[in-house]
């Protein structure tokens, strides 16, 4: 009964989406407010029905109803409750349902909080949103129905892929989808602007918070996924340039460019045509990512869907939306007028440079990811494009970008003073040189590029702090006044400082981890001692243990440093009986921002076990950086200047009252 209700709710949502696709547009054409307002009700009702459908699938998984194919294939009655819930989106059908749920959530949010939008813009936005929704409802209902029943229900399920039985699955996909799908709002706004033939600074102001929300979630989602891969896959890597990772990186790069170009549009009414194109491209790349992951066209670690009919269906959706929106763009973009002059050296100029480098980086990832596919289809030649290619091509693009980052906020709008900005960055430059000298002295005779990269990272962090110091006139006025100024700074300014500093922090982590990582690989027997980076790790012994749906082999290590006991680490290997699969559970020991990492290999007949131990200096900075960036995004989002028509603070109300009293 629950499965059928869920299925039915989804069909109803499709019906609502179809109405929402057409009626508001007719309303906008006939200038009929009632028809335009239909969009609002249908968007909210859609959210309700999709949520009901999603809740139905969660209920089926939690109650282990194995008469439903999706539950049978991905669940097990003994699986812990958390994984029964997260298992809902740990498979193709469920993850598509999560995708449309989040799409409906964003539609509902626009309907609920979009009351300050012009009526016809809101009608257009929600209609476009409904086109996307209809396509994906159809996709689920026709090719990926999660509510299919089995005629003869089995007693036990086939369990979830053990690699996915982890807290990472609870956080990573929902965050990533909130990011991916969140960009649909920017897309809908862009298409709506093209349909209406009208776009202005207010449009940018409405789009920016939505883009920012999506960007924050995508940033956190990618970082979370990277950390998950780092501790779960068991060889300590955190970014593999896997096509699926690239699929999430492309919208991130384009979305970051979009955030910056929307800023120019909002403040200076310039770059309109480009911003609209970026909004379209960002969501197109999200769709492409969905296609790459869901169609199984790329055989990669994440791809667990391999049915070609689905691939063809998503490809069709992809072509219709990307082709359609780009054609619309080509047709209507000339109607959008450019405005706002600026000199090459100016805040706008810096943001344009940011856009140029970010889009080139995005194009590089795009070509690198799809080139092997295209080449194989066209010529039959098989080549591989992997991490060495991307590392090689990314560095020349990111070095100038990172050098430019601290300059941007210090340049004035319209016409900036490069020399003045450089003078104000003097302190950051000195900090960078000091850092280079220190690292060179510390690692004398070692890597030569790494100290320079550290210097660049320090320059980015110090540059962000210089910008802050400049704004609060630190050391030029008494400290209390500076502090008062700091409190008075707009939140968006603080957001920029945090986001830019986060970039530098992440770079420090990346350079340290890749350059000064030390490792030990060996076969150890109980009481053997391994030495890694001043740590001594003694293998105390091996024990067997029975988990809820697996058996595991635990190894206990005693960790000491310079003779002082530090901690105990217990990496393990798990064997999942139902799927006959094994996972390695690495043990991590955090010391400051650095980590010790142990993962186990196979035990041999003589009682020894293969062990890999890594010391990864400052590795956690790789993820603290994105967290800082996302925090900057949240600060910026909470800036009330970003909200059009937000109620004025009490001061204004009081002033008005006073005025009335006079």
């Amino acid at each position: 009964m629950i499965a059928e209700s869920g299925h039915y709710a989804l069909v109803l949502a499709l019906g609502l989406a179809l109405i929402q696709s057409v009626v508001p547009l007719l309303g906008a054409r006939w200038r009929d407010a009632a028809l335009m307002n239909v969009a609002r009700s249908t968007a909210l009702a859609q959210l309700l029905f999709v949520a009901a459908s999603f809740a139905a699938l969660v209920t089926l998984h939690v109650t282990s109803d194995f008469s439903v194919l999706n539950v049978y294939e991905n669940s097990h009655s003994l699986k812990p409750l958390l994984y029964k819930i997260t298992g809902v989106w740990g498979n193709h059908e469920g993850s598509m349902l999560l995708w449309v749920s989040i799409l409906a959530l964003f539609g509902g949010l626009v309907a609920a909080f979009g009351s300050n939008l012009p009526l016809s813009l809101r009608a257009h936005v929600l209609a476009v949103q409904a086109w996307v929704a209809s396509a994906f409802y159809l996709f689920i209902l026709i090719t990926s129905n999660p509510f299919l029943r089995i005629a003869n229900p089995p007693i036990e399920g086939r369990d979830l892929n053990p690699v996915l039985q982890d807290i990472g699955l609870a956080v990573h996909p929902p965050m990533l989808y909130l990011g991916y799908v969140g960009f649909s709002i920017s897309f809908s706004f862009a298409v709506a602007a093209l349909l209406e033939g009208r776009i202005d600074a207010a449009w940018a102001r409405w789009v920016r918070p939505w883009t920012l929300v999506a960007w924050i979630f995508l940033t956190l989602g990618i970082a979370m996924g990277s950390y998950w891969a780092y501790y779960e896959l068991g060889w300590g890597g955190w970014w593999f340039w896997d096509p699926v990772e690239n699929a999430s990186l492309m919208p991130w790069l384009a979305g970051t460019a979009l955030l910056h170009s929307a800023l120019v549009m909002e403040k200076r009414n310039a770059l309109k045509v480009w911003t609209v194109l970026l909004a379209i491209l960002t969501f197109s790349l999200s769709l492409l990512g969905t296609f790459l992951v869901r169609s199984g066209v790329l055989t990669s670690v994440h791809a667990f869907a391999t049915d070609p009919t689905r691939g063809v269906f998503i490809l069709l959706i992809l072509c219709v939306f990307i082709g359609g929106s780009l054609s619309l763009y080509a047709w209507r973009a000339s109607a959008l007028k450019q405005g706002g002059l600026f000199a090459p050296i100016s805040r706008e100029g810096a943001l344009v440079l940011n856009n140029l480098l970010l889009t080139t980086a995005c194009a590089t990832v795009f070509v690198g990811t799809l080139y092997p596919l295209a080449l194989e289809v066209l010529t039959g030649e098989k080549i591989s494009v992997g991490a060495p290619f991307f590392n090689f091509t990314f560095a020349p693009l990111f070095v100038p970008l990172l050098i430019a980052v601290p300059f941007g906020p210090l340049l004035a709008w319209k016409r900036g003073d490069l020399v003045g900005a450089a003078q104000r960055l003097l302190a950051a430059g000195i900090a960078a040189l000091l850092a280079i000298a220190l690292v060179l002295a510390w690692t004398y005779g070692g890597a030569t590029l790494a100290p320079l990269a550290i210097g660049l990272a320090v320059f980015v962090v110090a540059g962000a702090l210089c910008d802050l110091a400049e704004r609060i006139a630190l050391f030029r006025v008494p400290l209390p006044i500076s502090l008062r100024r700091a409190r008075g700074l707009p939140r968006a300014t603080w957001g920029t400082v945090f986001a830019h500093a986060g970039l530098g922090v992440a770079l420090i982590g990346i350079v340290c981890e890749t350059t000064w990582n030390s490792e030990y690989i060996g076969a150890m027997k109980p009481d053997d001692v391994a030495k890694v980076a001043r740590y001594e790790l003694r293998l105390d012994g091996l024990t067997q243990r029975q988990g809820p749906n697996f058996r595991e082999l635990l190894a206990q290590f005693n960790v000491s440093r310079d003779g002082d006991k530090v901690s105990v680490m217990t990496p393990s290997k798990r064997n999942f009986t139902t799927r006959g699969a094994a996972t390695t559970e690495a043990a991590l020991l955090t010391r400051g921002a650095s980590q010790l990492y142990i993962s186990l290999g196979d035990a041999s007949a003589d009682g020894a076990i293969a062990v890999r131990i890594y010391h990864k200096p400052l590795v956690l900075l790789i993820w603290w950086g994105p967290v800082l960036m996302a925090f900057g995004g949240v600060l910026s989002l909470s800036d009330r200047r970003l909200r059009v028509g937000a109620p004025k603070p009490a001061k204004a109300a009081a002033a008005r009252a006073l005025q009335a009293a006079e």
Partner: protein, 169 residues
């Protein structure tokens, strides 16, 4: 070429049928006695693809074939090959597919040229855009469609709310 491919398919089938359980990437018994040579082997391994895996280098992969390749790389290094000779040897045996960073040739020209081309095209477009700017700006202003009465009313309301504090003095 065809033979190489059917061999390749055979290897995949073999790996799948054996149900290879995760072993480990570099195993203790593979490591070379000379640390300098071992470091070279590791660096080379990161550039080489495990051909039965999905986007993993042989250094990261747990597949038996990756182990064979790792051993092969170490064998060649022990035999006195330099890095280029090792790579050439593997490419001759397994084709370009084994390289994670493809070599520049007629098939990969576009791949390697696309980042600089995109950057160049973008820069060129910006330059032209910058030169055409004064003309485009002339058309500004007159083109925006007029506000609807609703919007005008809303604008007045927002402006009134904005200017209220200033009017006090």
């Amino acid at each position: 070429m065809m033979r190489a491919r059917s061999l390749f398919a055979g290897v995949i089938a073999l790996t799948v049928s054996l149900g290879a359980l995760p072993a480990h990437a570099v195993l203790p018994d593979e490591i070379m006695a000379d640390p300098a040579k071992e470091a070279r082997a590791r660096d080379l391994s990161r550039e080489l693809r495990c051909m039965v895996c999905q986007n993993q280098s042989i250094d990261d992969s747990e597949a038996p074939l990756a182990r064979d390749l790792r051993l092969l790389v170490r064998e060649r290094i022990a035999a006195g090959d330099d890095d280029r000779q090792v790579i050439d040897f593997l490419v001759a045996r397994y084709g370009e597919f084994v390289l994670l960073k493809p070599r520049l040739n007629e098939h990969t020209l576009l791949l390697w040229l696309s980042p600089p081309l995109v950057l160049l095209a973008g820069g060129l477009a910006l330059w032209r855009f910058g030169r055409r700017k004064p003309m485009a700006a002339n058309g500004e202003g007159g083109a925006a469609p007029p506000l609807t009465p609703d919007e005008q009313a809303r604008l007045d309301q927002l402006l009134a709310a904005d200017s209220a504090p200033e009017q006090r003095g």
